[in-house]
Amino acid sequence: MWLVIPLPERLFSVKDAFIAGAIIAFFYILFTQELGYLTGAAEIVWWIAAIVWAVILFKKGFNYYRIMNSFGLSFLVIIGFIFLFFDLTLEFEGIPRALALFLTPLMTIAVIGYIHNKIALAKELKRRRKIKIPISKRVRTTLYKLDPIMIVFIVVGFSILIAFLLAPVFMMLLNCFNVPPGEPFYYNFVYIFTNAPYVKHYLLPSDVTWYTIIQSGNTTILLIKGVNYGVIVNSLINSTIVTAAATILGIIVAFVLARYDFPGKTIFRILAMVPLFITPFVNAYAVSILFGREGPISMLTQQLFGFKIWIKDLAGITLAQIMAFYPIVYLNAFSSFISIDPSMEEQAENLGSKGARLFFTVTLPLALPGIIAGSILVFIFSLEDLGAPIVFNYHYIMSYQIYSSFTSETGLVSPQIAALGFIMLFIAVLAFLAVRSFVSMRSYAMISRGGRWKPRVKKLGWKGKLFVYLVLLPLIIFTAMPQISVILLAFNIIPPYGFKIQLDKATAKYFIGIFTNPTYYPYIRNTLMYAAMAVVLATIISIIIAYSVSRTKMRILTPVMDTLATIPLAIPGLVIALGYYFFFSTFFRGTPLDPTSVTTFQAWIVLVIAYTIRKLPFVVRSVYAGFQQVHEALEEASLNLGASRTKTIFRIVLPMITTYIISGIIVGFIYITTEVSTSITIGGLNPAQAPMTFIMREFFYGGTVHGVQYVASMGVLLIIFQLIAVVIITVVLKQRYAFIGV
């Protein structure tokens, strides 16, 4: 709700907050870093100064609305808090600390302003509430609107979410505080933050360079591998770079494809979709070949510049993730761009705005909520991605560390790993919630008159065409390379090691092999069975939850349920895996559901539950969209004619949303078959019951000569599934196949 709260006459502006920050940061560097005063605990003086200054500015009439209404500033504040948190916990000093101090006045004002606003709003609402209705009467009216089946839905929905989402995550949290005797409860966190493998507090000279030049014989190799700052920092840096690069790339590609017309555009659009096909491990492997020592890129640079390029380790992970994840942003940005009412831009042009100015003042701000929603997914996917680290065999990243604890010889997960899981969860959920509130504040309902509009499409000029064909086309082809290579690998057109095209050796025997060879097909069967079971469960739960969320309007319960059903998106799969490990090994100790009982563990049950919960948001989202399409009057008309709520749901509502349910089922199925994190961790605890993705990883390093081809063949199978899904959803159901936003 918007309320205008009278402001004091404006005396100070955002500039003053920045000046305050700059002065404090300057003196901080001068005294602490140069002169050596006020270090250690006494440093708190600077923080107090920054906060007090901010409070004074606010009291004297700082216009908080400038921060709230400005896109850049509010984003800066959110990023600032995340930065501040890590600056303090990771104990960065010097320039990063000065930067944090510089931002503190602005952030303090934002916080005070936010709280101030909330209090004023609450007071105003209280003032407006003229008549008092006793709580019992409010409860009575709320209960009246809940028919028995809705109460059942709410109770069942909450029970499932609490038992299989909250409880496992809570068990993981509990384990973070499982410390050796005599140590304080936060020992595990101290351990992580002070131990060099996790956070390096200083770098050796050899660590600092992110590339090296190797001379071997008469060839020069430029080896790019990135800097190791320790597990946690590596993860953060990697995910940040991946997110930023994917966002920029996604925006550019989406804008060009959404707004310009040029020969070959359809091919561009199809190629841009290719990286969306998920092929766990194999696509990262393809990247490692493409950028390997003897890969095609190396050959090219050798010819052109006389040196080879070899990308590995952290840099390889970053590259593979950018290529795999940028289409998520692209799809979101594309649909944002085409859903902008053209009259918005026409009005701006009408007033004399054009080109970059038009883009940055009107188009981008209107599309940004959708774009950011895609970016945050990329951030979370990157954070929890296991495929690239495993393929590049790089261990100094959070996801790999958590994963490797499952494969340790003892089979026991240590409390330090739980603490690491907690940090991962914290980063992901914090970023997710911050972005969600940020986006929802800025989602502009597009008010259109006269239904659908025709999107603005312009012909490209010759400069634009040069850009498209010389820059964009190679880029899009380049990002589609991994998936293409997967197919080539599967049919042995390129060999598993080294790089050459060998059309003469092309064969389908590996692809056929995965269905005939008893070493492979049980795992495919496992995956299909688990996915089928999980998708049925997820659909039922989704209907229950989506109906409750869209039709009951209770004050706290409804939003909480909504958030709980969406939050698995933000919870890294490894955290779910850890949570389930602790949950089942605590409450089901000694039963077949106990992951620590090596011989009897029934991994499939835990896997099906984990899949159901993890991929729930995708199904819920689709079903929820369906319920939203059904106007409530259509239900009321049925109630009005004497049908009970249950009858209404089954005879009116569900038949009307079948297409949404089917597309929810398809999307859920795709995400479950390609799931990696829980499959290779929980699944790994009983390999006989493991799904396809587990075996894909196994055979990669199984030492068999043709492992890679078989794995690539499974990748091809997954691509086929996804292709069928895309066709069904877009052609048969006439819906848009897209990643979902926050």
Partner: protein, 361 residues
């Protein structure tokens, strides 16, 4: 046939009072209209009668049965929704038969009654169409048939004509009126269109800000509004503020400073303070000769004359105020010319001025 009684109904959403202590009695078999601007609580009142909402305070009775907490599917009311709410996945026949199937009537009976309903709304032969294949007017008829076929105790119509174009609206208005007469079914009709309300209703309740301001037959509400809001909302009115003068034979004199004239009218409500308002309908003005002796005679300059087809609308500057009056469509004044007219005192309404004079007319 059912009598509907609302007793002191109050509905609160969060901190907003949607319906404020509404008491109404709807006679059995009558067409009762709730009229008011959007957000006045008329739809909420209708939804409370249907059982989609439950009031925080008050009771609803169908005849003498307390239905306040009865679920909507047990009330046997039938509602026609603003957007018709036809189920797009069912044919016309299935839509209409739905309520009967819920009642588990034999198929033969269902077919007979659906046929009857379709004849009633003149849609024979469209049973197997889907709603999206029908025009707006046809959809409207299907919705009506679906409601009527279950023989409801009360028929509820929520702005049923607002999605139709102007011509069709008048046509359907007549038809609804005829149908309601024929079936004699107690009907509650919600609309914001005063013409619709007056033409169709046996009685009208005018609502504003959750309260029922006045209710009665259309003529009574139109000619004898008891509040300035009703006077202003139903038809057009010139509202002039002034000081109450003396009473004589049921009339009252009011001195209007803006006109610098004294008008005589009928006080429809007890006048307690000297601050009063005079309500003048534009159509009551009559032309007179300048020297003729009649009550409420005024002379002014025509500022604007607009030909509306069936009448001429004039803006006449009199003293400091500007009055709207209607003349016959044959009247062709020269702009800027003078005009003398009078208001018959029986048609002039005097009400207490509710608020300190809000704004200059």
């Amino acid at each position: 046939m059912t009598r509907v009684r609302l007793e002191n109904i109050t509905k609160v959403y969060g901190s907003v009072i949607a319906v404020d202590r509404v008491t109404l009695e709807i006679e059995s078999g009558e067409l009762f209209t709730l009229l008011g601007p959007s957000g006045c609580g008329k739809t909420t009142t209708l939804r409370i009668i249907a059982g989609f909402e439950v009031p925080e305070e008050g009771k609803i009775y169908f005849d003498d049965e307390d239905v306040t907490f009865l679920k909507p599917y047990r009330r046997n009311t039938a509602m026609v929704f603003q957007n018709y709410a036809l189920w797009p996945h069912m044919t016309v026949f299935d839509n209409i038969a739905y309520g009967l199937r819920i009642k588990k009537l034999p198929p033969e009976e269902i077919r007979r009654r659906v046929k009857w309903a379709l004849e009633l709304v003149k849609l024979e032969g469209l049973e197997n169409r889907y709603p999206l294949q029908l025009s707006g007017g046809q959809q409207q008829r299907v919705a009506l048939a679906r409601a009527l076929v279950v023989e409801p105790r009360v028929l509820l119509l929520d702005e049923p004509l607002s999605n139709l174009d102007a011509k069709l609206r008048i046509e359907m208005r007549e038809e609804i009126k005829k149908l309601q007469r024929k079936l004699g079914i107690t009907t509650v009709y919600v609309t914001h269109d005063q013409l619709e309300a007056m033409s169709i209703s046996d009685r009208i309740a005018v609502m504003n800000k959750g309260k029922v301001l006045q209710y009665g037959p259309p003529r009574q509400v139109y000619f004898r509004p008891t509040s300035l809001f009703v006077a202003d909302f139903l038809g057009r009115s010139n509202i002039l503020y002034g000081k109450a003068g003396k009473y004589h034979d049921g009339y009252i004199d009011v001195y209007i400073p803006d006109l610098d004239a004294t008008l005589t009218g009928v006080p429809v409500k007890e006048i307690t303070s000297s601050n009063v308002a005079v309500v003048i309908r534009p159509e009551i003005a009559r032309l007179v000769e300048k020297n003729q002796q009649v009550e409420n005679k005024l002379t002014g300059k025509i500022d604007l004359a607009m030909f509306l087809g069936d009448k001429v609308e004039l803006r006449v500057g009199v003293g400091k105020s500007s009055l709207i009056i209607y003349m016959s469509n044959l009247y062709e004044p020269a702009p800027g010319s003078e005009i003398t007219f009078y208001f018959p005192k029986d048609s002039l309404i005097v009400l207490p001025a509710e608020k300190p004079l809000m704004k200059e007319q």
